[in-house]
Subunit: 138 residues, 4 copies
C-alpha cells in the first residue's frame, strides 16, 4: 500500500501561517479513501451499493504545523474491525524531512442508505474479508 | 430588511492574514439565505417543497481584505427576476468603519428535485410575487 | 455565560445530507472564541498582545448529524488549566429538541509570537486568573 | 503545460450531492499554482521573495456539477498581463467524459510584503517575461 501524498494548499492555511487544524480531518478522509481505493474499493461505489461508513469519533494530536509549500505523506492503518465498526489510524509526515506533523484516529460504523446500522460482514463479505487481513498491518 | 452581520472566523483567514477570497462566496450564500428568511422563506423549506435555487454564475471584486477580529455587514439586493432565473448582488462592508471590502453578484436558476429547470412563478407564486416587489430595492 | 448559537450553513453539509464532521472543529473554535469574548478577552487581542493558543489535540464523538435548517447550541467548559496548557470541552445540541449532536474536547498550549512555549500565568496573569475560576464550571 | 487533475473530495460536496460552488475558486487556485509551478515558479517561493499575487476579482459560470467519485481536468490560461496586473482563465472538465463543468476567471495584482502595489516586471523580470510568452496560449 502506498502512503497518501498531499500538497498543502494556500486556502488550507490560516493567519498563523500553518494549516488550520480542522483540515487534517479532511486529509484523513482523503487518505483513508485512497487506502480503500488501493484495495480496489472506491468509497463512491461502496455508497452506491447501499453502505455508508460515517465517522462516529475522531481524534488528532498536533506536533508541528504543516506550512504552505510543504508536501505531506500520510500513513494509514486499520486498527480495529468488527462486523459493525471500523477504526483507522493516521500519521502525517513532512514528505521531505520525515518530521511528524499530526497523528490521529477515526472510528466508523456501517449504516445503510436509511442510516440504519448494518453489518458490513453480511452486506459486503469480500470487502470485509479484505479489511480483516489489513488490521494492524499498516 | 436588515443587513447580514458576520464575525470573521479564524479558520476563514489564510496565511496572508486576511479572509481567503473563496469564503466570500459562502458569506454571500449566508447573506441571501438570511435575506429570504426575513421575507418569510427559509431556504430549507423551499428545498423541502421541491424547488432548488442553485448558483449558475458568481462574481466578486475584492477591494480590501477583512481581517480576523473584524465584523462585516453585508447588504443584499435582488437585481433581476424572471420565472426561471434570479440574480442577487452583495456588498460587504466593515461594520465599524464602513469601508467596503468586497462586492459581488450571483445568478441562479430554479430546478425541481430532479434538477430539471422549472418556473418559480408556477411552483411558488406567492414567493415569486414577494421577490418581484424587491427587485432593485436593496 | 451564554451558550453559543449557530445556524447550520448549506456549505457545511455534505452529500450525506448532514454537516461534514470536520466542521464541528470549526464550530468548537467559534464557541471557545465566544466563550473567551464573554470573559472580556477577544482572541484577536490576545494574539495582538503576543500570546497564541494553538490546538495541540482535539477529539470529537458524533452521536447524530446536524442538518441544514437546524440551529445548534454549543456548551463550552474549561476542564483543565496549567500555566502552560488549557483544555476545553464542548457539547453540541439541537437548539429546538435538545438532542445531543456532538461532544468534543480540545487541548491547547500557550506560545509567543515566535511559537515558543510560554506561561500564560506570567504573560497574562489577569486572564489566567479568570480562566482558573471557570475550570469545571461550564 | 499539463492540465491540472483533481479528484472530487467528499467534504467538497454539499447536500445537493454536487461540489459546493465556492470550492471551484479553491480549485482555480490549485490549478494556477500548478501552472506556475510547471513554469518553474513555486508560489511559495514567489511570496518568500517578497511578491504576493492576491485575487482582486473572480468569476465563475457553472454548467454542470461535479460529483463525488469524479475526477476533473482543469485547463488554465493567461488572458492578460501588465507590469501590475495578471489575469487567468480556467475551464473545468470531467476527466472521463470531457463534459464541461465550470469555467471562470481571476484577476490579480502584484503587491509587496506590505501590501503595496508593485511592478512584477521590475521585481521579477525573468518571471514576468515567462508569463508574457504565455498570454493567450493556454
Amino acid at each position: 500500500m502506498n502512503d497518501y501524498m498531499r500538497d498543502v494548499q494556500y486556502y488550507e492555511t490560516d493567519r498563523m501561517g500553518i494549516v488550520h487544524h480542522s483540515n487534517y480531518l479532511r486529509w484523513f478522509e482523503e487518505a483513508r479513501t485512497y487506502y480503500m481505493a488501493q484495495m480496489g474499493y472506491n468509497y463512491c461505489d461502496i455508497e452506491a451499493s447501499g453502505v455508508m461508513i460515517p465517522v462516529i469519533a475522531v481524534s488528532a494530536q498536533y506536533r508541528s504545523g504543516a506550512k504552505y509549500g510543504d508536501r505531506v505523506r500520510i500513513e494509514v492503518g486499520i486498527t480495529r474491525l468488527t462486523p459493525v465498526k471500523l477504526s483507522f489510524c493516521y500519521t502525517v509526515y513532512d514528505s521531505v524531512t520525515g518530521e511528524q506533523r499530526v497523528s490521529g484516529a477515526s472510528d466508523h460504523c456501517f449504516v445503510d442508505a436509511d442510516f440504519r446500522p448494518c453489518s458490513l460482514k453480511k452486506k459486503m463479505p469480500a470487502f470485509y474479508s479484505e479489511l480483516e487481513q489489513r488490521v494492524n498491518k499498516a
